[in-house]
Amino acid sequence: MTGPGDRSGVDAGQGAAAPSGGFRKGAFGVAGSGDTSGFGGLVRVEPGGAVALHSTDRPYGGWFDEVTDALIEAVGEATYAAAVPRVLVDRGEITYFVAREHLLTLARALRDDDALRFELCSSVSGVDYESSGGPAATPGRPRLHVVYHLTSMTYRRRIRLEVAVTVEDPHVPSVSSVYPTADWHERETYDMFGVVFDGHPALTRILMPDDWDGFPQRKDYPLGGVPVEYHGATVPPPDTRRSYR
């Protein structure tokens, strides 16, 4: 894993089926007509779409190894192996994919260990990886990802933790006992994605009205709208409009 967009280490066996439908042709992504851009010969394969399915091999380079070793020492090798199935280094940023049952253990170690000292939880947010350009999502695939950005002010480092859960069982332990700032972040992620943070002091909607139905930032949330007729022409509602792929 070196440059941006380099997907050479893809392991299609990890959670994704064969990359059918994952092909993209041409820089402009046209189908059926000639591509005049000059990039028509390029074919890219992206098995997981936006989800990187592979793991970066050690050494990660830079301080990434230092942090990883300190983390292994802090939580113990067995726990680390169970808690972090994959690590991805991309574009100078490191992402630890974390199993949800070990999230709190890791967060506490990351905050308190002298060699780690991630004092600040910068951001918690969600990403819904349904229809992300890869194969169609199969039921039970963990498409809701909760992303934590942690900052070490002492060492001036940033890491990312990522926890993936399914829509059917969207439970993640709340880190608000470790990072009180996660309170509102988690409420927003619940509000927008429907991820339930167990142990949160008051998990209620924060941006949408209290009686709102559904979770607006999910990819399958209906956009609504009606066709609008103007001077004899009809503009379809947003989710049925033509658009570039």
């Binding site: 440059g3 941006p4 967009g5 997907r7 993209r24 820089a27 402009f28 992504g29 005049t36 851009s37 990039f39 890219r44 992206e46 779409g49 936006a50 990187a52 991309d90 574009r91 100078g92 940023e93 992402t95 004092e119 600040l120 939880c121 910068s122 951001s123 947010s125 969600g126 990403v127 819904d128 992300s132 350009g133 992303v147 950005h149 002010m153 001036r156 940033r158 990312r160 990072y179 009180p180 700032t181 309170d183 509102w184 972040h185 927003e188 909607r205 924060i206 941006l207 949408m208 009205p209 607006p216 930032q217 947003p238 658009s243 570039y244 792929r245």
Partner: protein
């Protein structure tokens, strides 16, 4: 209560029958009638403040539990300005995203644009040309002064210092005039684009900025004369809204609020971007951890921003303001017309008159946009209110797959309860004003 009242009469107001109907006489001073002689008992009062209230900094709603004038509990309710920008961006192409994100924290639009564009550029693996980077620094620092002036002005208004308000908006107008001359718009510029900036500095802009630089130090010093030494201003701010460094870190608070606790945490210094490591400026701090310290930090930061603007002007070298790659850069470099709109007559002549391929390319790039390799990045910048972070995810398509904004106002507002519980209700206003939240950024 000894007087007997007829059935149906109001015990708190005497009444008499007239030809117009019953007339009540409200005299006040009847507390002993209502509560007897014991007036020291517990009286819990829940007050709903906002969302439409002149001193809650926009559509912010506070639910306050009061014991007399003491706040025992403060709950913050937000969401009244939620416009779904993060969702909207997913249905626009990467360049159009700039136009949306600039409307989040509307007092610091250029920070939103720059952070978003830095994130897109990181995903693309490109870097804007040197001149574009310097222009970004230049406009951002002008924007920081404008934003701090509004924070000062609205904060002053909420505390009753109306001259602070009128003066603040007067000086802010000078900053906005500059931004209008450079970008064409006072606010919501959509000026910073992935790969550079929309257009070069127009002729005469450098001279205007230099003239502004001669005026501003004196104007800003005027605030020290007007407010800093003023006893009322000091007593409204000192020891109000106390939050120390431990509290700030636990609650994720960054920006002037954190620096007022004595921690010089400024991303321009700690994680420099856009060449900030080469600029000579101080990171002002205070050690009081209260609203007074935050006021002093913001005042000092405006002077530091003037220093950065001056240095940025000096290091402006001629050169491109957009990347060379024609698959990313929009085809025309616009120039600012007399009507304030951008146009490029030469380019229009080229695509309409001489080259069909150029027309096709223009059409494809503008309507469809470019593709960004799949992946995710998090890019933080130091906005006037603290760490503004953009978490941008691409699935390899022409539109952002997900844009999450870690807005400093959203996070800092969580500190309201910690700052105001146990204090007086009037100090809640001072505490919130010292956080300086912008609801456009909080609710997005």
């Amino acid at each position: 209560m000894t007087t007997t009242t007829p059935a149906g009469a109001d015990p708190y107001a005497g009444s008499r029958e007239t030809t117009e109907g019953r007339v009540y006489t409200v005299t006040g001073g009847d507390w002993d009638q209502a509560f007897g002689s014991d007036l020291t008992g517990e009286e819990r009062l829940v007050v709903n403040m906002g969302p439409q209230h002149p001193s809650t900094h926009g559509v912010l709603r506070l639910v306050l539990d009061l014991e007399g004038e003491t706040v025992t509990k403060a709950r913050v309710v937000i969401g009244y300005l939620h416009t779904g920008i993060e969702k909207n961006v997913e249905y626009r192409n990467w360049t159009q995203g700039t136009t949306f994100v600039t409307r989040m924290d509307y007092l610091a639009p250029l920070y939103n644009e720059t952070a978003y564009c830095l994130a897109v550029e990181k995903l693309l693996g490109i870097e804007a040309p040197q001149r574009a980077q310097t222009i970004r620094v230049l406009v951002m620092e002008i924007n920081r002064i404008a934003s701090h002036l509004v924070g000062l002005a609205t904060g002053g208004m909420e505390l009753g210092a109306l001259t602070g308000m009128t003066n603040g908006f007067r000086e802010r107008e000078l900053c906005l005039d500059l931004l209008e001359e450079i970008t064409g718009l006072r606010m919501n510029h959509a000026y910073v684009r992935p790969g550079g900036v929309a257009q070069d500095l127009p002729p005469g802009a450098v001279e205007s900025i230099r003239e502004w630089l001669t005026v501003m130090p004196e104007r800003l010093a005027g605030y020290h004369k007007l407010l800093t030494g003023q006893p009322i201003w000091q007593r409204r701010l000192k020891d109000v809204g106390y939050l120390d460094v431990t509290g700030c870190l636990a609650l994720g608070v960054t920006g002037p609020v954190l620096r007022a606790t004595g921690l010089p945490w400024d991303l321009r210094r700690t994680e420099p971007y856009l060449g900030y490591q080469d600029y000579d400026f101080e990171v002002p701090t205070a050690d009081t951890s209260d609203a007074w310290g935050r006021y002093l930090v913001r005042m000092a930061e405006m002077f530091e921003s003037l220093k950065i603007v001056r240095q940025a002007l000096d290091r402006l070298e001629p050169g491109p303001v957009m990347v060379e790659d024609r698959k990313i850069a929009w085809p025309a470099q616009l120039s600012l017309g007399a009507d304030g709109m951008g146009n490029s007559l030469e380019h229009v002549r080229h695509i309409m008159g001489t080259s069909m391929e150029a027309l096709i390319h223009h059409f494809k790039l503008v309507t469809e946009g470019f593709r960004v390799p799949a992946g995710q990045v998090y890019v933080p910048v130091e906005s006037p209110r603290g760490e503004l972070g953009y978490h941008v995810v691409s699935d390899g398509g022409t539109r952002p797959f997900r844009v999450h904004v870690r807005d400093p106002s959203f996070v800092n507002l969580q500190a309201t309860a910690a700052m105001s519980e146990g204090g007086m209700i009037a100090d809640v206003i001072a505490a919130i004003a010292s956080i300086d939240p912008v609801m456009g950024g909080v609710d997005r």
